[in-house]
Symmetry: C2
Subunit: 194 residues, 2 copies
Amino acid sequence: MGRPREFSDHAVVDAAMEVFWEKGYEAATTQDLCDRTGLGRGSLYNAFGSKHRLYEEAIRRYAATRADAQLAILADPEAGSVRERLRELMLGVIEADMADPGRRGCLALNAATEPSGRTEAVAALVRRQFADLEQAICHLVTLGQRTGELPADRAPLQVARTFQSAYYGLRVLAKVTDDRNALLDVMEGALAAL
Amino acid sequence: MGRPREFSDHAVVDAAMEVFWEKGYEAATTQDLCDRTGLGRGSLYNAFGSKHRLYEEAIRRYAATRADAQLAILADPEAGSVRERLRELMLGVIEADMADPGRRGCLALNAATEPSGRTEAVAALVRRQFADLEQAICHLVTLGQRTGELPADRAPLQVARTFQSAYYGLRVLAKVTDDRNALLDVMEGALAAL
DNA sequence: CCTTTTTTGTACTGATCAGTCAACTATTAG
DNA sequence: CTAATAGTTGACTGATCAGTACAAAAAAGG
């Protein structure tokens, strides 16, 4: 009982996620968060406690929406062969990153990199996202090796981890370069290395 | 003429570099910079103009010291075969990153990622460092292919770019993980993919 | 209706921010 | 020596920071 909230938690966290995604943790001000969520300070703090707790929620929300959508493509047999799915993963981020003038990149990667907001809680959230992607790629590599689509001469986990690293490196490069060919080279090279 | 400076520019920029490296651009305060450099606010601003200009100098300094040292190893024939040198590159950062409790990682990568200080000037400095590393790796791959140490069935630039991406991905992963084996897997996989 | 509970909006807090400024100091030129 | 130039110092600026206090408002139970 009591007065009901006038907002949807999801919508507010989505809006906060956008702010942190654009500006990073430290540079995002509580005023920015109020403006974008449409909430007053009182409501924001009543609901989320602190800027950092809202940051954690934003990272969770990123995992539950953007990151999970990528995992779904990787896990979907209708998305094509193993190579096709991994190509789709990289091609998707190349196009998305290049199309974004703000060069926001990947929120989890940003959170991993920014020293300021990186508490153990945040690091754990990021670690989980990294582990989920590693697992999804590893599962795909294992599948590919079993069906004969990929050579089976190396440990799937090692192959997956290297591919994942190339993926994150790709997103780092996309932060500062406009050279699509360079990013496509990374993709082609990573696929050729499977 | 006039009163001489009481400090060495290199030493001051080195100290500032440490601050930005530890905290990132936004979270580093001018007070931090004064404390670590030993300079008063007036001297700092007289010599460097603004926090952001000092940031640019710090990134240049990083390139001239840390990054160049890595390039030197890659370019040094006495450092071993192509594979050995590339292994040394990755092994070195794995050990360095794991040994650093602050998980500072690579300053250029941090600067690429942090939205806050990423002006076009900073992006250009980072781009140059990325390009220098790409070139050094590409040169090595070309060499390896010529001597027969590496298979010559793929374009050296593509191979180099993919390796470079795995390298930066490695540094991202090292920000949040303590799993040395995961990082070593990335390295072994990247070397196996050459 | 009144009480209880929760949310909301806003004014406010002390701290801290990047940057400035003027007085002072050290140096060289003449 | 004096004048000119450049560096240093620390107090100061107005703005902005994350977070709080509190009263008004909106709901439910009685």
